[in-house]
């Protein structure tokens, strides 16, 4: 069966204008990519080439300056995320698009279980159900149970990253944006995350990920988009190595 596109990005362009300094900061230009269901597209390229900006434009944390970001919903309806209303974007963030950011941002007084369960609370699920689901996913990600009831503020980089991943995965999005999800994980946990991402990919989730390690790209990605500071060049990985 042919995999169907969940996201098509066409000629995406982003730059910042800093009023105080009266300067334009180029971010990314002419980015074209496709993310299909059951597939991962990897964004690679040197630091500063705009990989994270592409993810943020898709999620509307950044306002894209030009181009189209087409999200194809299950019912066949297509939304241009570059033009969609804020409310439409919020709806899709609740059910549809998930984002695992590079760093965990959360309240320093909120227990891990609640940090992870929050996306479910936001869409109206009960606190107990959200906590149960959070416990399941934390267990899956090897976060020790003794940490569940304390805030992640004092956690190690790797533990925080797993909490962040758990938070991104809990709402079971159709399209998952991942910004270096294994950057500070030890080899064993990285392995666990690779398994987990492979498993949710097989279930049909479409993923767009920023990675620095070629090894991860080789193992997880079905397509690779290389960004250069000038723009993006599209290339497909030759063969997926299992």
């Amino acid at each position: 069966m042919v995999n169907i596109p969940v996201l098509t990005v066409e000629k995406l362009n982003k730059r910042f204008f800093l009023h105080e300094q009266e300067t334009f900061i180029p971010s990314c230009d002419d980015v074209n990519l496709t993310v299909n269901n059951k597939e991962m597209t990897a964004l690679v390229g040197p630091t500063g080439c705009g990989k994270s900006s592409v993810l943020k434009c898709i999620y509307r944390t950044y306002l894209p300056r030009g181009g189209r970001i087409l999200y194809h919903a299950e019912d066949g309806h297509t939304t241009d995320l570059a033009q969609a209303s804020d409310h439409r974007i919020l709806e899709l963030r609740k059910r549809g698009i998930g984002f695992v950011t590079q760093f965990l941002h959360c309240l320093p007084r909120k227990a891990t279980l609640d940090v992870v369960g929050e996306p479910l609370l936001v869409r109206g699920e009960k606190k107990a159900a959200a906590r149960d689901a959070a416990a399941d996913i934390l267990r899956l990600l090897n976060v020790p149970e003794r940490l569940w009831h304390v805030p992640p503020a004092t956690f190690s980089g790797g533990e925080k990253q797993r909490v962040n991943l758990a938070r991104g995965l809990i709402s079971r999005p159709r399209l998952l944006l991942l910004d270096e999800p294994t950057a500070s994980l030890d080899p064993a946990t990285t392995e666990r995350v690779i398994e987990l991402l492979s498993a949710i990919k097989a279930k049909g989730v479409a993923m767009l990920a920023v990675f620095h390690h070629p090894e991860l790209v080789r193992r997880l990605a079905d397509r690779v988009v290389e960004l250069t500071p000038q723009g993006a060049e599209f290339q497909e990985t030759e063969e997926k190595i299992q």
Binding site: F16, L18, H19, E20, K56, R60, T61, Y62, L63, D86, H87, I89, L90, E91, L107, R109, L121, V122, G124
Partner: protein, 276 residues
């Protein structure tokens, strides 16, 4: 989520007003005082929608007109321009053409407000419980036992010790007074709650607990809220969407994370850059 409030071209002018008030004020003019007639254009061209269950932040410096918006919507001030429609379960209310009795009914049943100054929201001659009872009485609940029971529940929910419900709020700390205000506002389970600088002037730890409480309640009850604040931290914590105001006008509106990470307007960039 469905639209619960639609505001179009809302404006408030203090003074006689003249045909050139709007063009001679605003962020481009750098002032909200009309250079022709000296009227103060506290707010103008304010348009936005509020959806059920969402928190909209209104951010801006003192005098930017943010509180004026809430005051007009809660009937504390009469608007000079524009319209606002409240989409209730059963009917639509054109807020600025309802009569005084309907205004009172809406204030008591369908809207709630928490002011920065607890003196505005509470009667200090009544006990904490009495303040809640007053609102409940106006919303048709008349049984003494039931009212007391409900007041006790609400105060417990907002973490005010119920054994102090018979004391006047004037004996309470600033944080507790805000909690009583929140309990009072929520007593009739309104679908819309206005928050006007509710944590300004409180200790940081008290602020955090009040904001956590508001967020919990919002998630539990799905109350739509408009939160007016000059505090970026409050915006970040509470609001999913944010409006930025300057000199009585909206200069920027968007998702809160976008406003904070990719602000477009020079003033918003300046605000975000000055965060501590």
């Amino acid at each position: 989520m469905k639209k619960i409030l639609g505001v179009k071209n809302l404006g408030k002018i203090h003074g006689s007003g003249c045909p050139r008030c709007l063009e001679s004020t605003g962020p481009d003019a750098g002032s909200n005082i009309c250079s022709h007639c000296s009227s103060v254009v506290a707010a103008a061209n304010i348009s936005f929608d509020l959806h059920a269950g969402e928190v909209l932040g209104i951010m801006g410096e003192s005098g930017s007109g943010k509180s004026t918006i809430v005051k007009m919507l809660f009937f504390d001030e009469e608007p000079s321009l524009g319209e606002a429609v409240f989409f209730d379960d059963e009917r639509q209310w054109d807020l600025f053409s309802v009569n005084a009795a309907e205004q009172r009914w809406l204030r008591n049943h369908r809207f709630g407000i928490v002011y920065q100054n607890p003196h505005l929201g509470l009667n200090f001659n009544f006990s904490a419980g009495g303040n809640i009872a007053e609102r409940l009485l106006m919303s048709d609940l008349a049984h003494y036992g039931q009212i007391r029971e409900r007041a006790r529940d609400l105060l417990t929910r907002t973490e005010v010790m119920p054994e102090r419900m018979d004391e006047s709020p004037k004996k309470f700390s600033g944080g507790m007074q805000q909690r009583v205000q929140i309990a009072k506002a929520l007593s009739t389970s309104p679908p819309v709650l206005f928050l006007d600088e509710v944590t300004t002037g409180l200790d940081l730890s008290v602020q955090a607990r009040i904001l956590d409480l508001i967020l919990e309640i919002q998630q539990e009850l799905g109350t739509a809220m408009i939160a007016v604040t000059h505090d970026l931290g409050v915006i970040r914590l509470l609001a999913t969407r944010t409006i930025v105001m300057k000199n009585g006008r909206i200069i920027e509106a968007g998702l809160t994370d976008q406003i904070l990470e990719d602000p477009q307007h020079a003033y918003t960039q300046q605000l975000v850059a000055s965060a501590l």
